[in-house]
């Protein structure tokens, strides 16, 4: 009995356990000091948690991992570009960028949600392709419309040709303005207290949201669309709302992320963010249909430990730092692949389980009769 629970614990938490294992090998190899690692981890938790938390609500609504969170990230970036052109600095600049990002996020989220409703059962791949599609439109706006249709004053962010935004937009004026607010230093570790307060507020929001009528509807829709529809829940609208919320939160998350970075790579900052957030969430033990706040923090910690130590460990092990870099990319893809495969096989197994148990009972029945 006890053995059984251990086995099921391992099989249910295979990904996090694997990561703990890899990290426990890689950390000593890398030769980083504990305090350095701790400082880095704290920074990264503050930087990434908000973004990853934005993934939770669509999972609740049964729409899987929202690969389309990138759309929100783009909305946030547009906000930041405009704000930095208007020279609004610091926290007011962040707030303004968030306010600007909201309508864009809502628009993109609605489009994305509507398209996903047309592609039920294929939400993830659709969301994933949506990234590329909207990225095209983002480029159209940022590379061609800004400076022409949308006025951009400062030549420091414009391309020399007079329109389009440069590859990098400096966010020096708001760099870590949120992180430095109420920041505490313990030894060499800086704890960005206020950022953590914001993240905690989001966690509270998510917990509260689960208790609302809308949250309950989302859970219902996520489990069985048909039953939910029969009971009078507007399934399509509920699903769209979940995507919209996720997109808006991802926009905020991106702004928090970028204020920490201190600069914005206009055309590449968002392209991988979805992938890395999803990988981190999955590393924390989440699956396509179930994710908790705990998964987020465990995931972001484990995933980023690997990210920090991999290049240096790779150098020690193979004599080539690129190996480590490729390794961590490989790991993030592999984790997503593994989680997706687990999800699909679990789904099929659950279906077969019912049959098998019935089959067994029937065989026993007929055997006992014959005996």
């Amino acid at each position: 009995m006890k053995k059984n629970t251990i086995v099921s614990f391992i099989s249910n938490n295979l990904v996090p356990l694997m990561f703990v294992l890899i990290c426990s090998v890689a950390i000593p190899l890398s030769g980083f000091s504990f305090s350095y690692l701790l400082a880095e981890i704290v920074t990264r938790i503050a930087r990434n948690s908000f973004l990853i938390l934005s993934l939770l609500i669509p999972i609740m609504a049964g729409m899987g991992l929202n690969f389309g969170m990138t759309l929100g990230a783009m909305a946030g970036e547009i906000g930041l570009i405009l704000v930095s052109d208007w020279q609004i600095w610091g926290i007011p600049g962040m707030i303004l960028a968030m306010i600007i990002s909201v309508p864009i996020s809502i628009l993109l989220g609605t489009i994305s949600g509507k398209i996903m409703n047309l592609a039920k059962g294929r939400e993830m791949i659709t969301g994933y392709i949506m990234n590329y599609f909207i990225n095209g439109i983002y480029q159209l706006i940022v590379l061609y419309a800004m400076g022409v249709v949308i006025p951009i004053v400062h030549s420091s962010i414009l391309l020399p040709r007079g329109y389009g935004i440069r590859n990098t937009v400096s966010l020096l004026a708001m760099r870590q303005s949120l992180d430095n607010l109420l920041a505490i230093r313990i030894g060499t570790v800086k704890i960005p207290l206020f950022t953590f307060i914001v993240i905690a507020l989001l966690c509270l929001f998510i917990l509260w949201f689960r208790k609302t009528k809308l949250g309950q509807d989302m859970r219902a829709v996520g489990q069985d669309m048909e039953v939910a529809r029969a009971s009078g829940i507007n399934v399509e609208k509920t699903r769209i709302i979940s995507i919209v919320i996720s997109t808006v939160l991802a926009g905020f998350g991106m702004i928090i992320y970028l204020q920490n970075m201190g600069n914005l790579s206009t055309y590449t900052a968002h392209s991988q963010i979805g992938m890395f957030c999803i990988a981190a969430l999955l590393v924390g033990g989440a699956s396509v249909d179930k994710a908790t706040i705990g998964n987020v923090f465990l995931g972001v910690t484990l995933f980023h430990i690997l990210f920090i130590v991999a290049p240096s460990a790779g150098t020690k092990l193979m004599g080539n730092s690129m190996i480590g870099e490729y390794f961590r990319v490989f790991v993030s893809y592999a984790v997503i692949t593994f989680a997706l495969i687990m999800y699909e096989t679990k789904k099929r197994k659950a279906l077969r389980e019912v049959g098998r148990s019935l089959g067994l009972s029937q065989t026993r029945l007929s055997q006992s009769k014959q005996a």
Binding site: K211, K213, D217, S231, G355, Q362, K369
Partner: protein, 531 residues
């Protein structure tokens, strides 16, 4: 009684695509009355209830004729929520519960008591928080009235079936102003004890003024709980009687009894006698099949060479599971012998190799390649299994499709079965149901089987086509001497075509009788061990 009845049907009729399924239905239901509705499958019970509940399918297929009155007011429900508003609740055969929710959450689904907050004032009432305490109270009360002991905080997925059923009923009861509760075979999944509890609570509900329409195949239950029994057959009400003035036997007779046309008893008898000298072609022993909704539990059956064996029974009793299990489409166990040789189960290929063929009841799902031509549909199995219609190139290394042979054979079957189509290249999805069924038969015929299973050959096709299909089957049986096993919900159809009829009830064969036997006998077998 000055008061008008709670519910009144006046001359309600309904037809689907020209098929009359309901004809001039009139009845009344008083406050606190329990009405038992019985009838064979296809008698029109479900359609009647769908009309009452305002299901979309009714409206989409052109609505209905006649009038329905609730409390003396004329109503016409366009969708279920209107019916709900008018106080009509329905418990379906399939559970409409959310598996990962607790009983409480399911009972108040989408009607949760809520608390307002500032946020919900701005963003709308969907951001109200749920009032868990009140939810619990409501559910507990509702479960209490049912008189059962269900853990309200248990997840539905962890519940035994009976508790799921009670949860659904409890949900209907919490609906405000519920006046009429439709229970569609609620006891089918219950143990005897649970069924008793349910019956008790139905009576309890009636005492509180809720009227109940109770549909079941367990006639004993009808007699014990109902005030009034309606017996339906072929879309009409054949009898309306107070429950205490009738017997199970009588009801059965009303349900199935009717004049038999185009069948001569003697003919059948002689055929059977001839059969006795003929050897067993197939023998099924202790077969179980896990087919959702059509579970076969323990079937033992012998089939004689050259006969047409009918398998009948009520829906959900497992008759469809038999051919699907033998042919390897659903997981099965037990033993099946063909000409004394055992056939291994769960492998469609081996069955087909030993010259069994199957025409599935799921015509569009399993039976046809809807997006492909008739040629493909008809020749595909024979090509794959028997290497027919192929040209062997390079000494058989390349098996090239022989388009000419394919066209030829397709046209032969189109002619033989008079399939109405624009040509052998037409896509299967463009044909009508009857012609699609003929294509399915042609596909099986092309395999030249020794034993042919035909499942629900006339389901969903119009009357004219029905006859053609059945005739084609009979002709095939007579001319090629092929043993045919026909599974159908329509007893009369079986009696017209088959030599012997096996009745399945509760996943077991409850009896095999010659086709000329009185239909009343079959009726008894059908309900003998209904689960």
């Amino acid at each position: 009684m000055a008061e008008s009845p709670l519910l009144e049907f006046k001359n309600v009729s309904k037809s689907f695509y020209g098929n009359n399924v309901l004809n001039g239905i009139s009845f009344t239901l008083n406050h606190g009355e329990i009405l038992g509705l019985v009838g064979e499958n296809g008698a029109g019970k479900s359609t009647l209830m769908r009309i009452l509940f305002g299901m979309n399918v009714i409206k989409e297929t052109g609505g209905y004729e006649g009038e329905i009155l609730v409390d003396g007011n004329l109503v016409k429900f366009d969708n279920p929520s209107e019916a709900l508003k008018a106080g009509i609740g329905m418990v379906h055969q399939e559970f409409s519960l959310i598996p990962g929710f607790t009983a409480v959450e399911n009972i108040v689904l989408n009607r949760e008591p809520q608390r307002k907050s500032i946020i919900s004032e701005v963003f709308g009432p969907r951001l109200n928080t749920l009032d868990r305490k009140k939810m619990d109270e409501i559910s507990q009360k509702s479960i209490g009235t049912l008189g059962v002991n269900i853990n309200k905080d248990m997840l539905i997925s962890n519940m035994p079936v009976g508790h799921k059923q009670f949860t659904e009923i409890a949900r209907e009861l919490t609906k405000k102003n519920i006046k009429i509760l439709i229970l569609d075979e609620p006891t089918a999944v219950l143990t005897e004890k649970e069924a008793d509890t349910l019956l008790k609570s139905i009576k309890e509900m009636a005492k509180r003024g809720i009227s109940v329409i109770f549909i079941t195949h367990r006639l004993q239950e009808i007699l014990s709980v109902c005030d009034k029994v309606l017996v339906m057959r072929d879309g009409v009400i054949v009898r309306e009687t107070p429950a205490d003035k009738t017997t199970v036997r009588e009801i059965t007779k009303w349900m199935v009894g009717r004049e038999i046309s185009g069948i001569s008893a003697e003919n059948n008898e002689s055929k059977i006698q001839n059969k006795k000298e003929i050897k067993k072609i197939m023998s099924v022993q202790n077969l179980w099949v896990d087919m959702p909704g059509e579970t076969v539990r323990d079937v033992t059956l012998d089939i004689f060479e050259g006969e047409i064996l009918g398998i009948g029974g009520l829906a959900g009793q497992g008759k469809l599971g038999i051919p699907n299990g033998i042919m390897g489409l659903y997981e099965a166990g037990g033993k099946v012998f063909l000409n004394e040789k055992e056939i291994s189960l769960n492998n469609p290929r081996l069955c087909l190799d030993s010259r069994l063929a199957f025409v599935s009841e799921d015509r569009r799902g399993v039976g046809l390649l809807l997006d492909e031509s008739l040629e493909w549909n008809i020749t595909f199995p024979a090509m794959q299994i028997q290497n027919k219609y192929l040209k062997m190139l390079l000494g058989g290394f390349i098996k090239w499709r022989d388009e000419e042979a394919i066209k030829e054979v397709t046209e032969k079957y189109i002619k033989e079965l008079s399939i109405k189509c624009t040509g052998s290249q037409q896509k299967a999805k463009e044909l009508s149901g009857g012609n699609q069924q003929k294509v399915c038969l042609a596909k099986a015929f092309a395999l030249e089987p020794k034993v042919l299973f035909v499942s629900e050959p006339t389901r969903g096709i119009d009357v004219g086509a029905k006859k053609l299909v059945l005739d084609a089957l009979k002709k095939f049986n007579k001319e090629s001497g092929v043993t045919v096993i026909m599974i159908s919900s329509e007893l009369e159809e079986l009696r017209a075509v088959c030599d012997r009829i096996a009745i399945v009830s509760g996943g077991k064969i409850s009896g095999v009788l010659p086709a000329y036997t009185d239909s009343e006998e079959f009726g008894h077998l059908m309900v003998s061990n209904v689960v």
